[in-house]
Symmetry: C2
Subunit: 251 residues, 2 copies
DNA sequence: CGCCCACTTGAGGAATGTCAATCTCCGTGG
DNA sequence: CCACGGAGATTGACATTCCTCAAGTGGGCG
């Protein structure tokens, strides 16, 4: 796994991609892999805290997260920040910029991240050469819309403890699907501020709700680790059902 | 314009589609029209209050709104409702159901609506035969994601008067783009409850914010009509810039 | 050792929600 | 023609949630 100067690493085989081990991703055909190899233009490694794409900017790149975590967020002039989503391995980044022209949110690395890099200008040819993959991209966009819909519902209509429960459940769920968490334990890369900004709550109030969840024996979050003490009650409070997560495409 | 029994009307020529008159939609090539004629499977007319697609259901159809208004919303068991968006002519409905398998929100007619109907099973063939249109569908999905992101930002981080200003500005903007409003006046098909549910506010508080906006000479909403009294201040309060709305695809 | 960042906790206040009463249309039936 | 009823809008009083401010604590790292 060679690495050159500015963080862009050399290409690798997509079949052996580290993400392929997880059964949450749909398998690849040979024809697909053939195309994807040409589509992939390199790998990018960024340190924690780096901005990957900036709101309002036009980027020539698209990414798939290979490793690490990030967040997508928007900010108002006065600094109020809304986190739109948390990034995990397998997530596709920058589609908005590729089809519209400009990203309407910022993407930032929370830990060190490794990203698979694509050229925006090649995206359309994918629709022509491998329509199935084009369809997959639409699938991902529709999925993102669904997730944002849930998120909006949570922020708009649930109260603070429900929101926090929802946020923690979501993070745990996502981490588990890519092997970053066990059934009851998760290494937490995000801060309480990140969570608060995702849920439309203040940091202080979020902290108090965490305290309450701990007192109730539902979850405990301390020293960068999240413990799920009572998954059933967490899900009940979050207002979610057990997810029968079918496979999703991986670009 | 023949109409048969249960509200499904006969096909028409897409070039003469009522929506083509608006320059917010990108033009059609002949090849595209050829395909779209085959893709279109009919028209559907529904009365105000009807449900078009139901959360959790699998529908064999996709729609483009030809006339009228609707809302997309989700509800919790206890009745709390979140409006995800307002539907205007040109909007594409049911994509989630077509690519995933199940809609995660309900779509409901607020006025009498006319919809152009497509078969879900034909969608994939569009990607194969007219990749450009497949790309357009992705464009629409990405756009929807962007709009939901703005919406989430508003609900999560703006206070009540900003939210109401944002909601009214958005409705006016959308209505204008399809000729349903003048620069300072709009026929309002939605209720204050709809707006409140979109903004994550109670009906009562939304009403009080409307009162305040009226007292400040910014907007006035009475007897189903919205008057924009001071567009500049409305936009400032809503925290938006003048939209340089480029053309968008019409499916 | 000391600083910085994330987290924690309490106190007080502002924003928003809930409840309840009333009003204004507008359509329907007598 | 008028009485009635229902849906949406409006307003005031009061309750609650959540935010802001302020003052910590605790651990990691230079």
């Amino acid at each position: 796994m060679g690495k050159n100067g500015n963080g862009v690493r050399s290409q690798e085989n997509c079949k052996t991609c580290v993400l392929r081990q997880f059964d949450c991703f749909a398998p690849f055909s040979d024809a697909e892999e053939q195309f994807m190899l040409g589509f992939k233009s390199g790998e990018l490694v960024v340190e924690a805290g780096s901005t990957i794409v900036l709101e309002g900017a036009v980027s020539p790149h698209l990414f798939t997260v290979l490793d690490g975590n990030g967040i997508r967020h928007k900010s108002l002039e006065d600094g109020r920040r809304q986190v739109l989503g948390f990034l995990f391995p397998g997530d596709f980044v920058g589609l908005q910029g590729a089809v519209m022209n400009e990203m309407q949110h910022t993407v930032e690395a929370v830990t060190r991240m490794v990203l698979c890099v694509f050229q925006r200008r090649d995206l359309y040819s994918m629709y022509v050469k491998i329509p199935e993959r084009g369809f997959d991209v639409t699938w991902l966009a529709a999925r993102e819309e669904q997730v944002l819909g849930d998120h909006l519902m949570t922020v708009g209509r649930r109260n603070a403890d429900e929101r926090v429960a929802f946020g923690l459940w979501l993070l745990h769920q996502r981490a588990r699907s890519v092997g970053m968490a066990s059934k009851s334990r998760m290494e937490m890369p995000f801060t309480q501020q990140d969570l608060a900004d995702a849920l439309g709550l203040s940091l202080v109030h979020t902290n108090k709700m965490l305290r309450r969840l701990k007192d109730r024996g539902i979850v405990e979050w301390s020293s960068r680790t999240l413990h799920i003490l009572d998954g059933e009650r967490l899900m009940a409070l979050a207002g979610v059902d057990e997810e029968v997560s079918r496979q999703r495409p991986l670009i």
